[in-house]
Amino acid sequence: MTRRLSGFPASIQRGFRRNVHRAAAAGLLAAALAIPGTAALIAAPAMAQETPVRGGVLNSIVQPEPPTLMLGLNQQGPTQTVAGKIYQGLLTYDRKLNPLPSLAESWTVSPDGLTYTFKLFQNVKWHDGKPFSANDVVFSTSKFLMEVHPRARAAFSRCESIKALDDHTVEFKLKEPFPAFIQAFEVSSAPIVPAHIYEGSDYRANPANNTPIGTGPFKLKEWVKGSYIQLVRNEDYYKKDLPYLDGITFRVIPDAASRSLALESGQVQQTQYSDLEPFEVPRMKTLPNVTLTTAGYEFVAPMAWLEINHRVKPLDDKRFRKAIAYAIDRKFIRDKIWFGLGRVPTGPINSVVKFYDPKVTTYEPNLDKAKALLDEMGLKPDGKGVRATVKLMPMPYGETWTRLGEYLKQALGKVGVSVVLESTDAAGWAQRVANWDYEITTNFLYQYGDPALGVARTYISSNIRKGVLFTNTMGYSNPKVDELFDQASRENDPAKRQEQYSEVQRILSDDLPVVWLLEMEFPTFLDKRVKNANTTAIGVNDTYESVWLAK
């Protein structure tokens, strides 16, 4: 009795396990010699297998274990990955962030950009058998999410009215144009929850939160806290013959090294987000049974930066921030700390997000320029070569961020900026950053498909709010930036919007309110037998209705 890989014959598993190391070596050899025939050889049987087959259980990892799977109440990353199979939003998005149907079959936007009308799929049922209707959408967006979900609250508070025109049609009327609105219907941004369970109840205390009822292709069967979450096929799913999988099991594996072992041994067939430490990725990439992709994170489009408190001298001086930017080699960070995962950023908007513009001030590593800027500020080196001392509190989100902190200390030391590293845990970090009690920290934020949803919040002065995380915690303020973000968020004409966003990117890249470090990419490892997974911009958080396992 050893571990079990549901859906695969035991003999394959055993042979597979034994051969992992030998085959890894062989794969490496083949790659090194670039044998031309190999690719064709591998492709041929794959082609023959392209008709989806029903059955099998996909095993993956959930880490850290979420407190709840009620997606409306908790939008932690792992919650999204698991609950994205149970709940659905009205839309999902392709890799270019264009909307695709999910609970909504079709939709129209009026030419003035004020009225959004969604036609919902027929015959959709909640997991408890009750029919789903437009009323659920109206309840979710106008009441439930408005009460408990910060991002949804920001989007739907722009509505003048949300109405059900009939059982399968919902109409959102906006107070003023907000073209980013179409990006606000992804499953974690606006999960649709059952009105018949939540209407009139205390949402957070509702006992049903422990037994989530959604419309998705998978239902929660069992959650053994600390061990695993088991989802099974929703037999009443509204799309005929879907889903293909019998179920999905998410295992709770708290230790990073053990998570790597789980993938290596074939015990799990998928890992996502930060399941594996970046330094494990080069080794895992060589395993013969898995493929690595960094696609599927376009919707979150994380951007990592050095967050600088403008209330502390000399950090309030943009020359100082520029000196920091020149002192840091961001290619080194990408290649040596993130092991090649991610892209070197140019400005505030991630290059996979709409309205990105590369024509901005950029900062190549240049120690002389850095020193010149510090000289210009009058920060001369003292006897020990120190021009200024700053405190850096690395984000306590794992080994990689600690390594980044150590690199930054070295890099800034080279231009005479002495760095004192401060350590903290997640709760302490959140508390201190939210209350502006820091000098420099590392941070990353998701951009949610549109600058109006995920970028503006960091830089506009109306979002300087003490005690609230993920706001303009630096205290940066530039009236022109405020004005441009405001105009662009209301501009219906994409060309004009692009102009406004381009200008704001140019201003920000010169003001340098934060020092952008990395357009982060997460590694998704998929077993080669897993097909059709990770096809949209929300990747592993999507429903997995058409994912199937090759025999």
């Binding site: 009795m1 806290k225 594996i253 053990s258 709760a427």
Partner: protein, 326 residues
Amino acid sequence: MLGFAQLFASRLVKAAAILIAIVVMNFFLVHAAPGDPATVMAGEAGAADEKFVTQLREQFGLDRPLYEQLGTYIGKVVQGDLGFSYRQQRPVWDILAERLPATLVLTLTAFILALAAGVALGTLAAVTVGTWADSAITVVALLAYATPIYWIGLMLSLLFSIQLGWLPAFGYETIGAGYTGLAHVADVAVHLILPVITLALFYMAGYARLTRASMLEVRSLDFVKTAKAKGLTQGRIVTRHVLRNAILPVITVAGIQAGQLVGGSILIETVFAWPGIGRLAFEAVLQRDYQVLLGIFLVTSVMVILFNILTDILYGLVDPRIQVSQ
């Protein structure tokens, strides 16, 4: 017998006082850490606004003054209610009860194994002192004691799960297998082997060293010579005379460790993804899940106090010369 009952009663009264002090101290200790559950949850959500954090604080009762929160907590604890984890939306008792079986089966098995093997190896080493067997046991014990426990765990897992494929690398049971009865027991037992060995190795090393040292000391005492002179067999001298007298320090240490059994082992549970209380405590610290953390502290304290009393009673049984005195 009256003396015994009196002792027991007075110890219980003292224990209650200590327990209340522990609860109060722990309460202030956990609240002294920066951040609270609301900030943690806001951090995890990736987006936040004032309303979100305020709502959570109100719901968790964190908007009340600290002394009021303490009063509420003690009031509940006295009634046997460990409170409610708002993060997990469940009573703390339920959460602990869910983790307790996995914790106990791991720590208790490891404890018994470590104690038995440790005392046996220590005795063997003492009896064969100066020979290769003694040296081998001493070296192994030293290595097991000095090597980081998580490293041993990972290496065992690498060897027996990945290379040889004999044992599951982690987890408590086979997911979705739906075993019942004996099949379930066998399934858990197979998953138990690696974590138990890893944990037991560490404790065993301590017991072995302690037993050996203590036995060597007792062996040279006069009554052992007398026993030898009486013509008793070597085996009888070792078990009845030397070991029985040498075991007291082992019982002391074992008593302290037994009290901590319910606390689980953070490292072992993390490496082997074992759903025990150690991991629960660690996660509760990171998430500032005050109620869960205080609950674990309380249950562990109670166990430590109980085992201390038990150890005292055990002394008297092993060595009747130790009398109850007031």
